[in-house]
Amino acid sequence: MPLNDNIRVAGQGTRRLAGPGPGAVFGVACALETGKHVGEWLSEIWRSREILYFLAWRDVKVRYKQAALGMAWALLQPLLTMVIFSLFFGRLAGIPSDGVPYKLFSYSGLLLWTYFSVTLAQTGNSLVTNSQLITKIYFPRVLLPAASALAGLLDLVVGSVFLVALMAYYHVVPGWSVLLTPLFVAQTALLVMGSGMLLAAINVRYRDVKYTIPFLTQTGLFVTPIIWPVSYLPHRYQLWLALNPMAGVVEGFRACLFGAQPLDWTLVGCSWAITLLLLLLGGMHFRSTERVFADIV
């Protein structure tokens, strides 16, 4: 049987801690080091993938329990927003939509955005809402935000059915590039995961995050090309848009879906770079703080 060193502790290595005594002024937080190597960390997550599955399954099962409309809510949320936006922005304000019917244009953006905003809120709060689990049992903590990000995908799939129907209704026939759309969906999930890990870890200590997320997603809806196309923006501002990773996601998704606009490689490239950076940053921050979650959550 392998002797697995279950717990590694600060003080074995370079940083020897003072023994207990009245003069010892340091807390839990500073006394801990990130114990596991990245490889160990990842392989432990891989070994626990069944827990991820069950946690996501739980979230899915529970989400629309005791709601008369059930799963229909997954469809209704982007649909109703689309109807309202089409009326105000498409018809009244006359915002152009890159040659695609405005309803289809806004719904395709809203579909991704709804997933992003709803799931980001759940991911960011995942550690706090599951504090009961964190303080009672060990499993890789990162599975909690991951499960939230994963569970939200089902809503997206349900919402896509209507997207397909809408395309058929407007006789929009996608080209081969439609095969690239899952890539943008995956990117959204990675983006949720990256920012979600970061927010969830901060949320454990500072509950301010809980109030920040709705604000972020509300503002995000308007600074992301969802109800307006990138071409609507004066050229000198378009470069700034590349800083919003969701801009590249939505724009790339539409370009591949409708084939009406060429793919903006700069925008998409920047967006992927930021997504991967956030994923790295989120993962690193999560890993360096996860040891104290149970103590401070």
Partner: protein
Amino acid sequence: MSESITVESLSKCYEIGVRQRETQLRDHLVGLLRAPFRRRERREIVWALREVSFSVQEGEVVGIIGRNGAGKSTLLKILSKITYPTSGRVRARGRVASLLEVGTGFHEELTGRENIYLNGSILGMKKREVDAKLEQIVEFSGIERFIDTPIKRYSSGMRLRLGFAVAAHLEPDVLIVDEVLAVGDAAFQKKCLTAMQNLRGGGRTVLFVSHNMAAVENLCSRGIWISNGQLRLDGSTHDVIEAYMASFASAEDASSELHGIEGRRGDGEVRYTRVEFLSSGRELQTVTRSGKSLVVRLHYRANQAIERPCFGFKIFTEMGTLVTDTSTWLHGLDIPLVPKGDGYVELEIDVLNLLPGRYYFTLWIDSCDTRKDYDLIENAVHLDVEEAPIYPGATRRIDSRYGLVFFPQRWRLEGIGHDAAALEVPPAANA
């Protein structure tokens, strides 16, 4: 045999006060603005564990005992990897399962069956293991009929059964169990104990925390006593329990001062200062006997005026079984205000229905309104109840072998026939 768990000079400290103060980023920033160059103030540090070392052999069943707040739970949490030690190290061999709570991760909206999968998975079972054991788990839980009902409709007992059924089917090399038997009815407790005994037979290493000394004595071959975060005694279960029990309330007097008592909780706005066992004539009663009267006088000191407090205490046996819990609140007594200063409350017991033995008193004062604890001292004092001719006319020795309590009672023998009525023992015939 080889070592299953090795714990080397494990310490864990917590900063207290930090959590409330800095939960908001704002406070952090405000602190920085006010005094950007001042060193961070010294925080109060509490050592939950200090330099604890021991090792457990494969197949050993070890009971960990100690008062609340002694550090047992912190130790288990570190062993379960839930929290991390400040210094020291732990090694464990093989698959470790910890059960700090029954039914961890249960979700109200899911059915019993669904929760078995969820809970099993979180506890470290593979899906195919759960598939294979599902029937046994359901059978063990004894709630087959409700297995497809959402557990929000379950009683707390049913939840407990389900949770323990899953736990009993884990097959870990090391099992860590925290006080999970404190709840549940007697029959189920027995079932759980048997399940744990089977674990022991199976050569598994078990670490078991409980306040139920009888359970610890039955199950464990070895005891570890943790006191104030330190390992106080490590040895055979019997010796450790005896030493632990003897540490309580060493004052043999009928009057016990409560100043230097360790492990006291509550915020201390009002505290008990002394307990006296008195006769009905209000004289100190050095010998208390079964079936006689007793007055328990609880002296307190209020550091400020307290509105609507509630005084009470619990009586436990030596083995940690709760005999009774009594309080002013249970009696429907409303105490509008206790003024600042000293005072006392008394409980008059006309007939002490306890059989001979040693009983431990856990004293508490809380707020009737908020249920906030003002004072809570576990096993603060003990009372030795001596033998006495309890039943009029009988002279037999009745000791703790005959149970915990007796009732005012009489046997009727008319149903036997003959001239049985004549056999009825007239009350106080030989008294």
